[in-house]
């Protein structure tokens, strides 16, 4: 059970949060102009890597803000949390 440092509220227990999967997948601005393959890439394809992964998290039972997290999936170490719209840190 992690302790997560919400960029808006500070450190809280993991039970207050929900994970929204891989981060930095931007919804295409013009979906209708994409081929089936390009749309499928956006819709279905996720990296799910072992190592540092960038993820979306939501402080669902708190401020309800979405933010991003760099987490090492092999040991659950959280390297960084940062706000939506910010560039991912270099890790």
């Amino acid at each position: 059970m992690f302790i997560i440092n919400c960029p808006y509220c500070g450190e809280r227990d993991q039970s207050e949060f929900s994970c929204g999967g891989e981060a930095h997948i931007v919804r295409p601005k013009q979906p209708t102009e994409l081929s089936d393959d390009e749309w499928a890439e956006y819709l279905f394809m996720r990296k799910n890597i072992k190592g540092v992964q960038f993820e979306r998290w939501n402080h669902a039972h708190g401020c309800r803000k979405w933010f991003n997290m760099a987490r090492d999936t092999s040991n659950d170490k959280i390297h960084a949390v940062y706000k939506m719209g910010e560039k991912p840190p270099v890790i």
Partner: protein, 1000 residues
């Protein structure tokens, strides 16, 4: 005192007799005993039968690693508990225990026949034998296996005990109250750190507390006396919480730990029931110190499982802690010095003792001590066989060859009534690995030790591989100071004298004169797997430790292989000729010792299982005999039976009344989201499939929401309250998820939109009145309002006032009838409802529940998201093309509607089904087929909604069928267990296709 209670100790109060019952017979022990020590004091060793061969088994240890002495506690149908280790349960007045896995009785066990045919039960026997013929499974194999494979009985009634959960935070958590845990806790607490010390036994002190030996001296005192003094000082410290009878269950990441405290398990029967039985502590610690200790290893030799063969340090604990002798003619069989402490203790109590040591010599103080006392030691020897069926009677020993790989010389027989064995020590690294820590293999004494990496937890004492008293004390002090960043502690000048082991030797599988195939050298005592089984698995091609473990079931019993894992690994390494360190270990998973379900669940049972949400009108429903249905967390009226009506009868009456005169439904549970902001219209355009910009103020519109994959997600009516103000409704169950999804898009994809969302589900109560007389009832409620179709048309809303309270009236319909929904602040919900009932009295207004609502909408072919859809239905599949805007450039899910998969014509599509026999009602979920003779039968769809319609006087159903759109009029079949029902595909709007009733 009984024959075997030979010693008085400070830990067992021999003035307080406790009576208990084992296998139907009454015995006595004393306060402070465990069930195991009390049984031993009565001379009882035989406590169970082994799992596979049903061999007699005795108490083998004194702790959680016990593989044999597992009992069924209590006989009550609701309180009985299986798989309790006799070594862990504290004796209390009235305790009833029975041995497990021995039908029909402990002394006469029919399954023992397996022992005689054991050459035919090798590893993987069950996999190999019970494969075929398949028809034998149900009637022959399974009952046979179940009869003889008893691991106790579960209770058959609900557990009446109370369990509790509690959260705790601390600076330092110390796991284990042995000598290293005590030193750690003292240093931490004395340095103003809030410290918790947990210990699974009822008193602190570990094995040092009964180490009464002149070879182990701390600050000029015997180690046990020194420790006793430390404990009494510890108990005075302010910022230290000591929790005994508390065992660590799990060590999760970020120092989040679960520990189970036994609160009333040790109390006499008559004092138990008033209290909480167990409490699960959820601890978040800044720093964790693991001082979990080590487990003594057995030795693996032929017939090493007889009752009376006990781990050497356990023999010492029974003697020095409980005052009980495990035998009067003892032999110790060891590969290390620690068992010599047991020998000295036995000798000092006047018990005959001999030692067999596989080493050639040992020059330590404790060994010299034993020699000086005149104890006979057989060096360089091993046990090759044991005798005695229900209790050990004698052993045979031989000399070891030079390299230890074989035996030489003559067999020599020695009589005994107890064989104490010691194969060295295994550090308890379970906690360390549970937290994500890695292990290193230490070649010299063949142990896995933690490789320290974490800044937030540390291992000290024997669980860290420190076995000598001096290194335990000094290393603990040094490591804790560094770990907690402390300069000096009270232990810096401590002096420790102890015996030091210099000669080490280990043989995982001891040699014998007879071939391995004919020996029974047990590794996993509880699951009955032997060295032979492991070797067979290797010969059959299994290489990975995880595979060997599963194939032979080694380490898979309730003790999780605490005694067996290392030997299994060692034998695999020796046989395969690889280094043990390269094999890795099996994964240690929580819980460390079994947890009761009660402790896991805590108070979350019965009405505390989940939150219950009730509408403000709930009380009225209850008073009017409503039967309730759970919809998410909501309690919704399901139907309102009158005079013993069943569900069907009530629903027929309610739905007829709603169409013939007037019905009223509590619709308060629908999700409601208040949407405001200058981009609110644009936002709705993006989240719904249809267009919203042109919806006039005061108008309502039905909307369908998709996921990005094009599948229907939710639906509901949204009302435009003002230029930049909407009220969205969602399904009852989907409300929270819809809000989260909308917030997600607003925050992450479209932060430029000026839109604010507020959940107002609980703010308003809703009474929905439908039927041809609904307009008349509304007129009585709101006499000043014009309800003409011109002034108040379908799909519009108006503000109104009732009893001086503002409310909103929406003219919308989910039944196809003329219908109004009145929304009012929740606290006035019940009074509004009562007004509606009163006004509707002359029209026999009939309250109806969710079942009638479902029937009424099904007659109209309106879908229920989640019932007629399942996350794989597009609006096109639902034949709702009309709601998908062709003009809008984009909305959530639009692009997916023309992926190659979503435009397939053979997708499952929504259709109506009519049964050839109009009285036959289909079962929801029933499968649909088109050809009965085709094998295998192809399922082409299933029934999603099915009712008998009193308004149409026939059975109707909605279904999803592959390519259903083009199948209107086609005959299909719904095969049931004992008949095939003939059905015809129909339109899914069964009633009032022209929508005339909406303005009736």
């Amino acid at each position: 005192m009984t024959k075997y209670r030979i010693n008085k100790t400070r830990f067992v109060d021999q003035t307080k007799t406790v009576s208990f019952n084992f296998d139907g017979k009454k015995y006595h022990g004393f306060e402070g005993d465990t069930l195991a020590s009390a049984l031993l004091s009565n001379g009882i060793h035989l406590v169970g039968r082994s799992f596979k061969y049903h061999r007699p088994r005795g108490i083998m240890s004194c702790g959680s690693e016990e593989p044999n002495a597992i009992c069924q506690i209590n006989a009550d149908t609701n309180l009985t508990e299986p798989n309790v280790r006799a070594t862990e349960i504290e004796l209390y007045e009235g305790l009833r225990a029975s041995s497990q896995n021995c039908w029909p009785s402990l002394n006469f066990d029919i399954g023992g026949i397996n022992n005689l045919i054991s050459p035919f039960i090798p590893a993987g026997f069950y996999y190999k034998t019970f494969m075929w013929p398949k028809s034998f499974w149900k009637k022959i194999y399974e009952p046979l296996i179940r009869l003889s494979a008893g691991l106790g009985k579960s209770p058959s009634e609900p557990d009446p005990d109370i369990y509790d959960h509690k959260h705790e935070h601390c600076d330092v958590l110390v796991i284990g109250g042995g000598i290293s845990g005590i030193i750690s806790a003292k240093i931490a607490a004395k340095n103003n750190l809030k410290t918790i010390l947990i210990e699974d036994k009822n008193i602190l002190g570990g094995s040092t507390i009964y180490q009464n030996n002149k070879n182990f001296i701390i600050d000029n005192k015997k180690s046990n006396e020194w420790l006793m003094n430390e404990i009494s000082e510890l108990e005075k410290l302010d910022n230290l919480i000591i929790k005994t009878r508390t065992s660590l269950a799990a060590f999760h990441s970020y120092n989040y730990l679960l520990a189970k405290e036994n609160i009333s398990d040790h109390l006499p029967l008559d004092k138990k029931n008033s209290d909480i039985r167990q409490r699960l502590w959820k601890i978040r610690a800044d720093k964790v110190i693991v001082a979990a200790g080590a487990i003594e290893r057995p030795l693996i030799f032929n017939n090493n499982d007889r009752p009376g063969i006990i781990l050497a340090n356990s023999v010492k604990k029974y003697l020095d802690f409980y005052g009980v002798s495990t035998g009067l003619n003892n032999i110790i069989f060891t590969n290390n010095d620690s068992a010599y402490e047991t020998a000295v203790s036995l000798f000092e109590k006047g018990i005959s003792v001999k030692i067999i040591d596989i080493r050639k010599k040992s020059l330590s103080n404790i060994v010299k001590n034993a020699e000086d006392l005149g104890i006979k030691i057989y060096w360089n020897s091993t046990v090759v066989n044991t005798f005695g069926y229900k209790k050990i009677k004698s052993i045979e020993i031989m000399n070891l060859s030079e390299d230890g790989s074989n035996v030489t010389g003559n067999k020599y027989k020695i009589q005994c009534d107890c064989l104490s064995i010691s194969g060295g020590w295994t550090p308890m690294v379970h906690m360390h690995t549970q937290s994500g820590g890695k292990l290193d293999f230490r070649e010299i004494d063949q142990v896995f030790v933690p490789s320290e990496k974490s800044e937030n937890h540390i291992n000290v004492g024997s669980c860290n591989g420190d076995f000598e008293l001096e290194e335990i004390v000094k290393n603990t002090n040094n490591k804790i100071k560094k770990f907690l960043n402390i300069n000096a502690s009270g232990f810096d000048k401590i002096s420790v004298l102890c015996s030091k082991e210099l000669e080490k030797k280990n043989i995982w599988l001891l040699p014998n004169t007879i071939s391995e195939g004919k020996t029974k050298s047990f590794i996993d005592f509880q699951n009955d797997s032997t060295a032979k089984d492991i070797k067979l698995a290797l010969r059959e091609g299994f290489k990975s430790i995880e595979h060997v473990k599963r194939y032979t079931t080694t380490g898979m019993a309730t003790d999780q292989g605490k005694l067996s894992n290392m030997h299994a690994l060692g034998i695999i390494a020796d046989t395969a000729g690889v280094k043990m360190g390269t094999l890795g270990t099996t994964t240690f998973r929580p819980p460390f010792t079994p947890l009761t379900f009660g402790a896991i669940v805590g108070r979350g049972v019965g009405k505390f299982f989940d939150v219950v949400r009730k509408t403000s009108i709930h009380e009225w429903h209850a008073q009017n005999n409503a039967k309730f249905e759970n919809v998410g967390q909501w309690k919704r009226p399901w139907y309102y039976p009158i005079n013993n009506e069943n569900l069907h009868e009530a629903v027929q009456r309610e739905s007829k009344a709603a169409r013939d005169s007037a019905g009223i439904l509590d619709a308060s549970t629908l999700g409601k989201i208040d949407i405001q902001g200058s981009d609110a219209s644009e936002f709705l355009n993006r989240v719904y499939t249809n267009a919203w910009s042109k919806l006039g103020i005061g108008k309502c519109r039905y909307g369908l929401m998709l996921n990005e994959d094009g599948m229907v997600y939710d639906d509901g009516v949204t009302t435009r309250l003002g230029e930049n103000h909407y009220l969205m409704t969602t399904t009852t169950g989907g409300a929270a998820n819809v809000l989260s999804k909308l917030e997600d898009y607003l925050q992450t994809e479209w932060p430029e939109l000026d839109v604010y969302l507020t959940s107002v589900t609980d703010h308003y109560s809703t009474a929905s009145i439908c039927g041809p007389n609904s307009k008349k009832i509304l007129k009585k409620l709101f006499p000043n309002k014009d309800f003409s179709d011109e002034a108040f048309p379908h799909m519009s809303y108006q503000d109104a006032i009732i009893d001086k309270i503002e409310c909103r009236i929406m003219r919308i319909s989910f039944t196809g009838e003329l219908s109004y929904e009145i929304n009012i602040e929740s606290k006035y919900g019940k009074s509004l409802w009562e007004n509606c009932i009163k006004a509707g009295e002359e029209y026999k207004i009939t309250p109806y529940g969710t079942e009638t609502m479902h029937l009424l909408r099904a007659e109209k072919g309106f879908i229920i998201v989640g019932q007629d859809t399942d996350g794989t239905m597009t609006p096109i599949d639902l034949q709702m093309d009309w709601i998908v805007s062709k003009k809008k450039y984009d909305f959530i899910g639009k692009r997916s509607l023309y992926r190659s998969d979503t435009i397939r014509e053979d997708r499952k599509q929504l259709v109506g089904l009519l049964t050839d026999d109009p009285n036959e009602i289909l079962e929801e979920g029933a499968q649909i087929v088109s050809e009965l003779d085709k094998k295998p039968v192809e399922m082409i769809g299933h029934v999603t909604s099915s009712y008998f319609s009193p308004n149409l006087n026939k059975s109707i159903a909605l279904a999803v069928v592959k390519g259903g759109k083009k199948m209107k009029g086609q005959k299909l079949f719904v095969p049931m267990e004992n008949k095939n029902i003939n059905v015809t595909v129909s339109d899914f709007i069964f009633l009032d296709k022209e929508n005339k009733r909406i303005n009736a």
